[in-house]
Amino acid sequence: MTQSAGLKSFIELLETIGDNKYVFGDKLVEVGVSGPNLEATLAAIAMAQGELGHSRLLYYWVFDLKGYEGKKPDVKGQTGKAFRGVENVHNWITLIAALYTVNTAIDLILNSILEANRSKVVSRVNKLMREQKEHILYSRGWAQHLLEDKGAIPRKFKEALREITPEVGAWLREIEQKSELFAEGYLAKESQLYSKFMEELKDVPVQVV
């Protein structure tokens, strides 16, 4: 099956999202199991299952785009496109910073995909986006909580945000440079992903870049 430039880039985009969610699935368990309180731990474990489910849906979408028919192959690992900042999550602070920024960016991209081709993709992503909104709300709430905490925590959280945000922002800018994604109708024109992302981050008032 010959892939157009747009389709190749779109597959890479979906795999990047899927990979980050796949790694979040692990990190939410590894780190979340020792969350700051019982409620946080339970939420993290529940979100872990959610993120893994989202990655499965995205990988299956990629299989369809690549022309697989019938039963989908087992997903045994990510494709290597997860962000360094997500792979490096090692405590609650870095987990919240990564979950908030990466899922916020993913939400903007999925909205752009939906806007470009609603009738074809709505049945794939509608439920995922609803569930993801809850993950973003939860991590944003924790982000604000960490910024208002005492001692070294606000400083450490700001450092974590400053660490991950440029990587996520660079990814969005890279996507904006891929004209084939817009020309072939995979993303909506005038999506302004990067500027919208920075606008969204204003909810957590830290100078991150």
Binding site: Q49, G50, E51, L52, G53, H54, R56, L57, V122, S123, R124, V125, N126, K127, L128, R130, E131
Partner: protein
């Protein structure tokens, strides 16, 4: 959610009332997971969803659905199409499903 079921397809809806969610003793029909059933020359096309994208029992449930429908003598093949729109909510459940949930002490509001 109230569905208009064509008379010739009712037997398949009834058959799937025997397929239970693996985590809860409620049928996939009463949970509102089945959106549509069509039949064409022995091939059944089931359009369905799950309560969450992350449902860990998808393969299990799809296998159960296929297995049950294949028990009908005229059914030769079952195609299952999973969709996520409209997204599942508790409003999709049947009255019977809601009553069962209440019986088990689960909130469905």
């Amino acid at each position: 959610m109230k569905k208009q079921i064509e008379p010739h397809l009712k037997k398949y809806w009834d058959a799937l009332k025997e397929v239970l969610d693996p985590e809860f003793p409620i049928s996939v029909v009463d949970l509102g997971l089945i959106y549509d059933i069509q039949e064409n020359r022995g091939t059944i096309d089931v359009t369905m969803t799950y309560t969450a994208v992350s449902c860990a029992c998808t393969e299990w449930m799809e296998a159960d659905i296929e297995k049950r429908l294949l028990l009908e003598p005229e059914v030769k093949k079952v195609n299952i199409h999973v969709v996520w729109d409209p997204p599942w909510t508790v409003e999709m459940m049947t009255r019977e499903g809601i009553e069962k949930m209440k019986y088990w002490g689960v909130s469905v509001r």
